[in-house]
């Protein structure tokens, strides 16, 4: 998400599952959709069957997706930017870009600050000691009117297009092959196939998932592909877009609701330590247009923010107290999971709530996570299952060799319901909020998560009421309007997210006319106001539960366009749009690039945008007003140059994994790995080198299991009962390992033992002149559940994350292997 928002404005999958069937070319890279998303993958099958689509798979392993692909190429884990950067170079040098699209809908024409520079692996402004950049030079040149200077001829040496061209000129096919291990002719073949979709009426869609995010350069992997899609003119098109396939069924909902330490609901952000002033806080987020006439939708930030605070604090939130801005925490740093466990490991945390989260299994370097949990005074685990985390203190022999006598952490297990035991909505990858109903009552003493949290909150509030405290206001004044206070219902919460009128909302043009009566549900976020007259718990969900009722529960699968756009099936944020940025599916004059796949178009007769989807554009914005299709960006266009939005640079650059098998970066040996990634000192010391650990380890999931849950389910356990690792035939032969043998896989952080699966599907790659072997490590086993007991795969993985999201580098690290 931290790559899509800097590029397009919103951090979400742009199209939707069913729309994949409209693609001409599908590239699965940085993911394994057939394996991890078998049900959604049906739309790939549909595209092949009914649209004669071709499927390309690029992956270190010949995967289940590759099994049904038209073309497969291997790639070394962690080298995707080199591959995609090479593709950008190919598209530019072979002139396979959609010129009109790039000129009108991207920042290609924008002029960049004269101080911006890139050389020897570093962008301008690097501070080696802080491992971070001063990003002030990563900006546009602006005129006296405050707008960005542009050169529509693309001749200016400082325009984004020429800087990009120069940046990727180093990514020649030879260099790509040298870094990625992908044979040059295979790389070029894929480039040719992708380049064909630069035609305005052809589309490629990219499907990716954790294979791109779980790297120290994860966000930039995705950004590179997003740039390819801009150059091809595929954004906003049916059958195009950037399709981030989410893993958990509701992980999109998690980010939407802002459940990351620095976020507020609806992609608003918490203030930093230095942002104590409310006006300044709002001003820095109320983005003024950078080009004339642009919508720059974040100009409405105050409406979203004030409505959120009214939803949380009701009457206590007033204009005079800045809508309780002072009650919100101000961040000194981001408290992502790696940061939190680092602090815990340092003994700086007393308690931890693991709610639907199994960090001992799911986070890197199990020894560190377990060691950190052992330093807590108390640990609360809210989960339907007995997880490894809940029993981290117990000895399970080699699988968890700890001494319970030495661990004083008090563990509370609060059994919760699972998804099938509660009503509510889930947000899919497609941004569709779909209501579901409980299938069965929960067993035993299990309670819903909302009930558990409400119970804790009410007790806490009671203690503040009774005993007082240092800063009781935010707790005492929290709105709690639920009919059963200790058990808020999903319906009540959903209505709260949608928002309502706090007072009668009158028409600004005619104050006697009441648009929405006090207490009524709002029709959408366009009705939100910054004067305290509206409330909404999550502005992007506004429209999901209106006066018309629960739109998430709609089940009308009518598809009038035949393009799989079902506007009356559940509800998609924002504003029930199914394909976001759909203005870009039309040329500058408002005519569809491909009339056979019309999403929307400009009707000069009706003087508005019309079509099968909700236009992602001001309805009456005539084409000659030149309002750009990327309405969240102040530029109005998509960013090839990410300005200051990314931690490690405005253009993605290939950096090696922190544990690299080649020990150098062929592009710039002086800067090997991501210079802006945060690495804690003790973790830097725990990295291994290729001398001791010569093989690339990579972890992944199998269709038969879901994370660490389904090992508790009998049928899944039957289908994949026991831990295994995969190795190629060459490596197996050199180590004397046969299929079915027990092997020991070691990293600098620990070891696991598993059964060896010897396969042709993992080929030896030649990288920088040397052979690189990959050891594939499925993650699903542990020491709780019905499957045969196994080791947590994250015993092996390194404690370092992406520089923007801190998503750990699970996909690329170094291991050794021997016969056990």
């Amino acid at each position: 998400m931290a790559s899509l928002a800097p590029t397009f404005g919103r951090g979400a999958m742009t199209n939707h599952w069913v729309d994949i069937k409209n693609a001409n070319l599908i590239v699965v890279m940085g993911g394994n959709a057939a394996e991890a998303h078998p049900c959604g993958f049906k739309w790939v099958t549909e595209a092949k069957a009914h649209n004669k689509a071709r499927l390309i798979v690029v992956d270190p392993r010949f995967t289940r997706s590759a099994a049904v692909a038209d073309y497969y190429a291997p790639i070394r884990s962690g080298s995707d930017i080199a591959f995609l950067g090479g593709m950008i170079n190919y598209l530019i040098t072979h002139d396979k870009i959609q010129h009109e699209y790039v000129k009108n809908y991207s920042d290609a024409t924008f002029l960049v600050n004269g101080d911006y520079d890139f050389g020897d692996g570093l962008f301008s402004g690097y501070d080696k000691d802080k491992r971070s950049y001063d990003k002030s030079s990563w900006s546009y040149q602006k005129g006296a009117d405050g707008y960005v200077l542009v050169d529509n001829t693309l001749q200016h040496p400082r325009c984004v297009f020429n800087l990009m061209k120069q940046h990727y000129s180093r990514y020649t096919p030879e260099m790509v092959s040298r870094i990625t291990g992908t044979p040059e002719e295979q790389f070029l073949h894929i480039c040719e196939m992708v380049a064909e979709t630069a035609a305005p009426n052809r589309t490629t869609t990219f499907l990716y998932a954790l294979g791109w995010t779980q790297h120290s350069i994860g966000s930039q992997n995705i950004r590179t592909m997003a740039m390819v899609q801009i150059l091809l003119g595929n954004m906003g098109m049916a059958g195009g877009g950037v399709n981030a396939l989410r893993g958990h069924s509701n992980i999109q909902g998690l980010t939407d609701l802002g459940l990351l330490s620095n976020m507020l609901p609806g992609y608003m952000t918490l203030a930093g330590d230095k942002e104590q002033d409310f006006t300044a806080y709002l001003a820095s987020r109320t983005l003024k247009p950078l080009r004339p006439g642009q919508m720059s939708y974040w100009q409405n930030y105050p409406k979203f923010h004030v409505s959120l605070m009214k939803s949380w604090y009701g009457d206590a939130a007033t204009k005079d107290n800045n809508w309780c801005f002072d009650w919100l925490p101000k961040l000194d740093k981001i408290y992502d999971v790696l940061q939190v466990f680092e602090l815990m490991h340092q003994g700086k945390m007393n308690g931890y709530f693991a709610q639907g989260f199994n960090p001992l299994a799911s986070f890197p370097n199990k020894a560190k996570i377990g060691g950190a949990l052992a330093k807590l005074k108390y640990l609360v685990v809210i989960d339907p299952l007995a997880t490894e985390t809940s029993e981290f203190w117990k000895n399970f022999g080699e699988f968890n060799d700890v001494d319970p006598n030495k661990i004083q952490t008090e563990v509370f297990r609060l059994p919760s319901t699972c998804f099938a035991e509660e009503d509510g909505s889930l947000v899919s990858s497609s941004r569709v909020l779909q209501w579901h109903y409980k299938g069965a009552d929960a067993p035993g003493e299990a309670r819903g998560d909302a009930e558990i949290m409400a119970g804790l909150f009410l007790r806490l509030q009671g203690m503040y009421k009774k005993d007082g405290g240092t800063f009781p206001d935010p707790i005492l004044n929290l709105t709690w309007p639920y009919i059963i206070p200790h058990s808020p219902s999903s319906e009540e919460l959903a209505k709260e997210f949608n928002g309502k009128a706090v007072t009668d909302l009158t028409d600004p043009k005619d104050p006697t006319k009441v648009l929405v009566k006090m207490g009524e549900q709002l029709a959408g976020f366009a009705q939100l106001r910054d004067d305290g007259s509206t409330s909404s718990g999550c502005w992007i969900f506004s429209g999901a539960w209106t006066q018309a009722g629960n739109l998430m529960a709609r089940r009308d699968n009518a598809d009038p366009s035949g393009l799989g756009n079902t506007p009356n099936w559940a509800f998609a944020w924002p504003a029930n749009r199914r394909i976001i940025y759909n203005r870009a599916s039309c040329d500058a004059a408002g005519k569809p690039w491909d009339p056979t796949r019309t999403v929307i178009s400009w009707s000069s007769r009706q003087n508005k945008w019309v079509g099968m989807d909700v236009p992602d554009m001001r309805l009456d914005a005539a084409p000659d007003e030149n309002v750009g299709p990327f309405i969240m960006n102040p530029e109005g266009v998509a960013r090839l140059f990410a300005v200051d939005k990314m931690a490690e640079g405005p253009f993605p650059e290939h950096y090696e994994p922190f544990e690299t098998p080649i020990g150098t970066n062929p592009l710039h040996p002086n800067v090997i790995s991501n210079p802006a990634a945060r690495v804690f000192k003790s973790d830097m010391e725990a990295f291994g080198t290729a001398r001791d650990f010569p093989y690339v380890g990579t972890t992944y999931r199998l269709t038969e299991h879901f994370h660490f849950w389904t090992k508790h389910a009998r049928i899944n356990a039957i289908l994949q009962p026991q831990q295994f690792v995969e190795i190629g035939e060459d490596l197996a032969k050199s180590k004397g390992i046969k299929g079915g043998d027990w092997v020991k896989v070691m990293s600098n952080r620990g070891y696991i033992k598993a059964v060896a699966v010897v396969t042709k599907r993992l080929k030896t790659l030649t990288v920088n002149g040397q052979p690189v072997y990959t050891v594939g490590i499925p993650i699903h086993w542990g020491f709780k559940g019905l499957t045969k007991n196994g080791f947590l795969a994250n015993t092996l993985t390194p404690y370092v994350g992406d520089a923007n999201t801190q998503t750990p580098e699970f996909k690329s690290f170094l291991v050794n292997i021997e016969k056990a």
Binding site: K48, A49, R64, P721, A756, K760
Partner: protein, 295 residues
Amino acid sequence: MALQTLDIQRRSATTTPSPDVRQNLQTIEVAKLIDVSKCIGCKACQSACMEWNDVRDEIGVNVGVYDNPPDLTADSWTVMRFSEVEVEKDKLEWLIRKDGCMHCADPGCLKACPSPGAIIQYSNGIVDFQEEHCIGCGYCIAGCPFNVPRISKKDNKAYKCTLCSDRVGVGMEPACVKSCPTGALVFGSKEDMIGHATGRIVDLKERGYANAGLYDPQGVGGTHVMYVLQHADQPELYHGLPKNPSISVMVSLWKGVTKPLMSLGLGFVALAGFFHFIKVGPSKEDESEHESEPH
């Protein structure tokens, strides 16, 4: 016309005719089409098979492959077979074939079965085991050209895929077909399935699979489970799918040429038994053996 009739067409070790009162009813032959080129090996079909039929295999071990359980058993009526092949040099293919009963038009198991009514064939083509009549002799295994039936260690009776005859009998598709996310499994009349396969083969040929084709082997009279194969000229690539399956010569002899002789022999045995009964009386049960059984 109906897919779902469960009229019996043939019955093992039985010479009396099957009921045929519905003379005017033209049963449609059914078929399940397994399109290997669309299969992603997700095992949803294995899972659905276990769920619908209420069978649970043991939680086993990994034997060095993705296939799990590693073979068909009396509790696993379908398994995915994963084969890594390079038909063209340097062009790896991972062929994933759902294995299970083929529901032959001319079923070797039924022919081989000596127990009356233990194996039946419905007029829609489904070959079904009736375990209450099974004597556990294992002849069906010898008779099967695809090595499908398995004898249960729990009750010493033979089990295999029923093509969900209980679902088909009420107008539903088999559970595996219902669960398949990619449409690799489809079900309908055999005629429609051949038609569907024809379209798939055109698509595969257009994608470079010159030898794509339908697997409906005539050596067993055709099957009611068919495959679309990318390499129909080499079915053995798909985990040893037989190229020209046929009923073993021994079974053919046993039920073909020699059957009248055998019947004659059985007749003699029966006759001898009758005379034995007349002369000696009914054989007595061994009561002590009965008492030792747990109740």
